[in-house]
């Protein structure tokens, strides 16, 4: 494929857009209305309460394996995904619970997946790191650092191939930018002008290794210059700022088939996974305390207070509501059966071909 013309082609209507199930939640329309802020606040609170209960369930042994919490980074997933249309695509790494919820996968099916139960969004086969949902075009949770970035490029290729106007939003951590897969993927996306938004969640640490100890370039967004790709740095604790940056990138992708690299500067308030101390080894308590002053929920709260949109009673009601949703998800997951043993050998192969046009093969055409 020759390097694409950078002038904007006429956007064509996605032939499959109408087939996509409508999202359960209403998506906010504009960055500056109070309903939007309220909706994003609720979204972030849901993630926060969900992850707090996830940590408890892990401690109780109800969740096993590796488990990576999103606490502290909620504004990134909530703000970015709020920009998308239902027929757009989302793909991410293994720290995927918050993004899955923001995309509209039900808390019940996410929690059931974490519990390894049949009603999980991946039927108990994927676990915490591999949340998938075809109904919301959530293309996974992927466990190999940077491994899913070329896949996002491929989704962008498919969109362009079909003449659609969807966008693929790809999340990954800052440690992934030192991996060859990142460079190979961004080079092709820029070369071929594909509608992909690459969003780096720079939470400062790749597991326990600080950015400065791993990357020769500390401003991650500058990496995009290697590919002549538009780029931007944004405050990841400010959900509105994230939303606005992603809105610009999505517009470039949808209208001009131009990819963007967005560096979102954030911080995780918990350990890398469930096994490391929150602070004390690779980062200090003082540093953690400093960053926690910019809790994304508190940042949005301050913005709402400034506008006179905050009331303790209203917020308490929302918190009660999301806690009840999470409680319901826990109970649902707890009661959901383990996968039957027959499931062990299922879903390794499909027995369809392009001639049979049934099952997942047919569903693949969207």
């Amino acid at each position: 494929m020759a390097r694409a013309n950078k002038s904007a082609p006429a956007p064509s209507e996605s032939p499959n857009a109408t087939e996509t199930k409508s999202m359960a939640k209403k998506k906010p329309e504009s960055s500056d209305d109070s309903a939007l802020r309220l909706s994003l606040l609720r979204e972030m609170l849901l993630m926060r309460r969900f992850e707090e209960r996830t940590a408890e369930a892990y401690a109780l042994g109800k969740i096993g394996g590796f488990c990576h919490l999103y606490i502290g980074q909620e504004a990134v997933g909530a703000g970015a995904i709020s920009v998308l249309r239902p027929d757009d695509y989302v793909i991410t790494s293994y720290r995927d619970h918050g993004q899955a919820l923001a995309r509209g996968i039900t808390p019940r099916s996410v929690m059931a997946e974490l519990f390894g139960r049949i009603d999980g969004c991946s039927k108990g086969k994927g676990g915490s790191m591999h949340l998938f949902d075809r109904n919301t075009n959530f293309l996974g949770g992927h466990g190999i650092v940077a491994g899913h970035i070329p896949i996002a490029t491929g989704v962008g290729f498919a969109i362009k191939y079909r003449g659609g106007d969807q966008v693929c939003l790809c999340f990954f951590g800052e440690a992934a930018v030192n991996n060859g897969a990142f460079h190979e993927a961004l080079n092709m996306a820029a070369l071929w002008q594909l509608p992909v938004v690459y969003l780096v969640e720079n939470n400062r640490y790749g597991m326990g290794t600080a950015l400065e100890r791993a990357s020769s370039v500390n401003d991650i967004a500058e990496r995009a210059c290697s590919y002549d790709m538009p780029n931007e740095v944004v405050d990841g604790q400010d959900v509105i700022a994230v939303r606005e940056a992603v809105t610009r990138a999505v517009a470039r992708a949808r209208g001009e088939n131009t990819p963007t690299l967005i560096e979102v500067r954030t911080y995780r308030f918990m350990g890398h996974s469930m096994s490391d101390a929150v602070s004390g080894t690779y980062r200090s308590k003082e540093e953690l305390d400093e960053y926690m002053k910019r809790d994304p929920i508190a940042v949005l709260r301050a913005q709402m207070e400034q506008r006179g949109e905050w009331s303790d009673d209203k917020m308490a009601a929302i918190d009660d509501e999301v806690r009840a949703i999470v409680e319901d998800a826990w109970n649902f997951a707890d009661e959901s059966p383990e996968p039957p043993l027959e499931a062990l050998t299922e879903d390794v192969y499909v027995d369809t071909t392009s001639d049979t046009d049934t099952g997942v093969a047919a569903a693949g055409e969207r």
């Binding site: 494929m1 020759a2 695509y89 793909i91 999980g120 969004c121 991946s122 039927k123 108990g124 086969k125 994927g126 591999h130 998938f132 949902d133 075809r134 293309l139 996974g140 992927h142 466990g143 190999i144 491994g147 899913h148 970035i149 070329p150 896949i151 996002a152 490029t153 491929g154 989704v155 962008g156 290729f157 498919a158 969109i159 362009k160 191939y161 079909r162 693929c168 060859g180 897969a181 190979e184 993927a185 080079n187 092709m188 070369l191 299922e346 879903d347 390794v348 192969y349 499909v350 369809t352 071909t353 392009s354 001639d355 997942v360 093969a361 693949g364 055409e365 969207r366």
Partner: protein, 326 residues
């Protein structure tokens, strides 16, 4: 029936399947403007255009991943590796993404993709360009692995591979592209997962696949001059493997030799011997022997390379040994 090369048989399969289904595209190094490093994709750019015949940078991991992503959302990519030696750089996408997506998504996302290219040694390409990876690939649940050795099989199997809704690894060979054989004009496909008895016999079973099926046939010709009737089984698909055809033949001949291009340790032959010992233990009149590459990185020098490769003479010697003739 037309006599055409293995290369042209593959080219016909690609062209026919791209005409048949506009979700099918081919992507890889030099597949478009250069017309294919081995000319397998010759003429496709002119017929289908640059969106469906896509030259990539030299970025195997990257474009393998692009294929997986495109397949995930409904396209049917054919990813050409200039050789499978270079595909090592892409194995994360093959193994961790293509092979596992269906399972780890609980059956939601299948990956209808073909990864194809020449596998194994050619002539004097030395160590890094002369490797046979079929046992690595066949080890992975979620992948299908196909290795045709004739033009007829190459065309029919490639068409089936492109239509299959699973990831299919399609192993060709530089030394196969120029071989000629009969290929019918009309539409046909060959099912994946079925072996063929290429030659009937009752003294010994020679089990092989891919490029080595031609070695097996040569050996059978030589053996026939001494009155030894070898049955030659072409596996065609290495995963899922057709054990029934193997077992039925060994139960008839009571002796078997496996010919494979790769190294001995954990090679395909080891797996085949396991199937045979499980199901034919009481039928065997001799231990099953294997013919394979000598356990060294492939040397450059012509004489050393020849000594390292499996060939008809080594196969004949192994057959004579299981027949207790030598």
């Amino acid at each position: 029936m037309a006599i055409i090369t293995y290369r042209d048989a593959l080219n016909q399969a690609l062209r026919e399947e791209m005409q048949r289904d506009d979700r099918v595209f081919i992507m890889g190094e030099e597949v478009a403007v250069y017309q294919g490093a081995y000319k397998v994709s010759k003429g496709l750019l002119q017929e289908f255009g640059e969106m469906r015949v896509v030259d990539t940078p030299i970025t195997e991991l990257g474009f393998a991943g692009v294929g997986v992503g495109a397949a995930m959302v409904g396209l049917r990519p054919i990813i050409e590796f200039m050789t499978w030696n270079f595909a090592l750089l892409a194995l994360d996408q093959v193994v961790n993404a293509a092979a596992k997506m269906l399972s780890m998504s609980g059956g939601q996302f299948n990956i209808p993709i073909v990864f194809r290219g020449p596998n194994g040694a050619a002539l004097q390409l030395s160590a890094q360009h002369s490797q046979s990876w079929e046992s690595w690939l066949a080890h992975i649940p979620g992948l299908k692995v196909v290795a045709p050795g004739t033009p007829y099989d190459a065309k029919g199997l490639l068409k089936s591979a492109i239509r299959d809704d699973n990831p299919v690894m399609f192993l060709e060979g530089e030394m196969l592209y120029n071989i000629k054989g009969e290929v019918p004009e009309g539409e046909y496909t060959i099912p994946l997962g079925k072996a063929q008895v290429k030659r009937e016999g009752d003294h010994v079973t020679i089990i092989s696949y891919g490029k080595m099926i031609n070695v097996a046939n040569q050996a059978a010709d030589i053996l026939a001059k001494d009155g030894i009737r070898a049955e030659v089984i072409d596996l065609l698909t290495l995963r899922p493997i057709d054990t029934e055809t193997i077992i039925a033949s060994v139960k008839k001949t009571n002796r078997a030799v496996v010919v494979e291009e790769g190294w001995e340790i954990c090679g395909m032959g080891a797996q085949i011997v396991d199937y045979v010992q499980r199901d034919c233990f009481d039928d065997l009149d001799a231990p099953v022997l294997r013919v394979h590459q000598v356990d060294v990185p492939m040397p450059y020098a012509k004489n050393l390379e020849r000594a390292a490769k499996p060939d008809a003479q080594k196969t004949v010697a192994a057959v004579r040994q299981v027949l207790y003739l030598d």
